[in-house]
């Protein structure tokens, strides 16, 4: 009997990260704090590189991930951690798995992503000044 069938609470995956990702276009730090995933980038170019990485992985994952038909239907796991994207120390977007898609979410197809306009302006201002 599965957890769902037995009525027991559904289990979720809890991820902890203390990672750095570097490419010729980006320096990215991924950490977790109080259950929130924090993605910190130091430049607009780095943010675009991270978005390109997400697109590349998404478009090719069908080649190396099992298809839905190969996974058990009753796997009682879910991943629903919130996330924050920071650019130059300023929060520019938030991901809430339970939230509706904001403007950025609709533009990028990343459901649940909401832009923080004040943070975007501060981050861009910092980048332009330097």
């Amino acid at each position: 009997m599965t957890d769902a069938e037995s009525g027991s609470p559904q289990r979720q995956l809890v991820v902890g990260a203390d990672l750095t990702l570097e490419s010729d276009r980006a320096d990215v730090s991924i950490t977790t704090a109080d259950g929130t995933l924090i993605v910190a980038v130091e430049s607009v170019g780095g943010l675009l590189a991270l978005y390109n990485l997400q697109e590349s992985v998404t478009s090719s994952m069908g080649e190396w991930l099992p298809t839905g038909d190969e996974l058990p239907d009753d796997t009682p796991l879910e991943f629903n951690a919130p996330a924050v994207i920071r650019l130059r120390g300023h929060t520019v977007a938030r991901y809430n798995p339970d939230g509706s898609a904001g403007l950025l979410g609709r533009l990028t197809g990343l459901t649940g992503v909401e832009v923080a306009p004040a943070g975007v302006l501060r981050a861009l201002g910092t980048e332009l000044v330097e």
């Binding site: 902890g16 570097e22 010729d24």
Partner: protein, 81 residues
């Protein structure tokens, strides 16, 4: 020849889900479920690891090289934890 799937099925003879394992992904999920069910945690440690990420499928794909360093841990919890 005795396959890994048969071995796991033998280990978990009382677990119907594991006994029905047919593929490597199912095997991985089955093992993960059993480990995390006992409160275990899976930790990935990346030390100066380089990954060439293709921008599309095919031989003409361009690759972006990413360097990973640090740790990633995964465990499970109940929603009301």
């Amino acid at each position: 020849m005795l396959s890994p799937f048969v071995c796991v099925g033998t280990m978990a003879s009382t677990d119907a889900e594991i006994e029905e394992t047919q593929t490597w992904p199912e095997l991985a999920i089955g093992l993960y479920e059993r480990l995390t069910g006992r409160g275990a945690e899976i930790a990935y440690e990346f030390e100066d690891m380089y990954v060439d990420v293709p921008d599309k499928v095919g031989e003409d794909a361009d690759h972006a090289r990413w360097r990973l360093d640090g740790t990633l841990t995964i465990r499970t919890s109940e929603n009301d934890e």
